[in-house]
Amino acid sequence: MADAEELILSQAQELRRGTVVLACLALLEAPQYGYALLVTLNDAGVTVDGNTLYPLLRRLEKQGLLTSDWNTDESRPRKFYRVTPEGSRVRAGLVREWEDLVDSIARLTKENR
């Protein structure tokens, strides 16, 4: 039975993988820096490792979905990320996709419960 547990764990990871982008685009409506974002995501139940999240933020920035600024007000300068208008549009599209997906899966799994 340990095998089934392990399979669920690894498949769940596959399921979550794509949701990190959506969660980032949603959270970064307000500017946030890397580590704080990581904590917020993990507290919210979207588990992600730093070595995945930080490169991901840069990729989203390169794609024009995020923009960043160095904030030097505090003793430790930090890079704050924020969604661009383009990022907001992509997020709206992803949210629609997500809701469709939830509906479809809910319908498909109804009989099997």
Partner: protein, 315 residues
């Protein structure tokens, strides 16, 4: 920034593997992120916390690959099957032929079974290693250039029309492997007869080809042969033949053919000392050279034409 903390060493290992224009920014961000995480872990023992955070971030090579959005493989899944197929063909067909030739030469030369076995083992190891090494280098380079292209232009549409005919592929695969093996063999033989001077005339060891060629016409021929081998490997790996490919092939082929035809027509191909010893005073008639020149030009001409035909059929 004291310069030699664990974090500094880690960050350096990451950023030296990503494009130069992003290095400073990624380094600054990574440093603050590591410090933030370590602070949150434990104020009691900052050093242990730093160590734990770096362990969690993992191998710098992996992290750098994520930042640079680069594959962590020398030869990716797209090219791997072609790589294995060609390697198998080379090691099972071309390598035995080369080794057999080496053994025959050794037996003729020294008439010693032990030496022949020695040269067989040496041949398998060195020639085999060369084949594996060069093939791997060429495929890795193709993979790198491909990855960049697809990253920029996304993937081009595949349709079932792209499926190659079964017969044709097999024929083309073995044809390409044969061409690779043949050109590499010629290249190796030219270099070998120069460095080993295998022919024995009286008490001297001499080269078969005219040694004067090494201060001139042999170089474009060697470069051309290397070019032909590389282009054939690319054709085999990508299974396509573009106009650019055909053009480059024509250049490489002409680089071999034109100097070769010139050398033959000037009767400067063989080492005069070798000819004198082999022919025992009999001179090679001019007609032989003329026929050789015509044959060389015809063969390479038809190869170039067939390459352009293939390219046009695929475009």
């Amino acid at each position: 920034m004291s310069g030699n903390t664990l974090t500094d060493r880690y960050v350096h290992e990451v950023v030296r593997r990503i494009p130069a224009d992003q290095r400073a920014d990624v380094a600054d961000e990574l440093r603050t992120t590591i410090a933030d995480t370590a602070d949150a872990r434990g104020a009691a023992d900052p050093e242990a916390a730093e160590r734990a955070v770096l362990t969690e971030m993992g191998d710098p090579i992996r992290l750098a690959a994520k930042y640079a959005d680069r594959p962590l493989a020398l030869i990716g899944p797209e090219l791997y099957p072609a790589y294995v197929r060609l390697l198998k063909l080379l090691l099972t067909t071309v390598l035995p032929i080369v080794v057999a030739v080496l053994v025959v030469i050794e037996v003729l030369d020294s008439n010693d079974v032990g030496a022949a076995i020695g040269s067989a083992i040496g041949g398998i190891l060195t020639v085999g290693a060369q084949m594996i090494a060069w093939l791997t280098v060429v495929f890795a380079l193709i993979d790198r250039s491909r990855h960049r292209e697809t990253a920029v232009a996304e993937v081009d549409q595949w349709s079932p029309d792209d499926l190659p005919e079964l017969r044709q592929t097999e024929k083309r695969d073995s044809g390409a492997a044969l061409a690779i093996g043949w050109n590499a063999l010629v290249l190796a033989l030219i270099v070998w007869q120069h460095t080993a001077a295998p022919y024995r005339a009286g008490n001297d060891r001499i080269e078969v080809l005219d040694p004067a060629l090494w201060s001139g016409w042999i170089w474009p021929i060697l470069v051309g042969l290397a070019g032909v081998v590389t282009l054939e490997v690319i054709r085999f790996a990508t299974r396509t033949c573009t106009m650019l490919h055909a053009g480059l092939y024509a250049v490489a082929e002409l680089l071999v053919t034109l100097p070769l035809a010139w050398i033959l027509s000037q009767h400067k191909f063989f080492n005069p000392a070798f000819l004198a010893d082999v022919n025992n005073g009999w001179t090679v008639p001019d007609a032989v050279y003329t026929i050789a020149v015509i044959a060389v030009l015809l063969v390479s001409g038809s190869e170039i034409v067939s390459r352009f035909r293939e390219a046009r059929a695929q475009s």
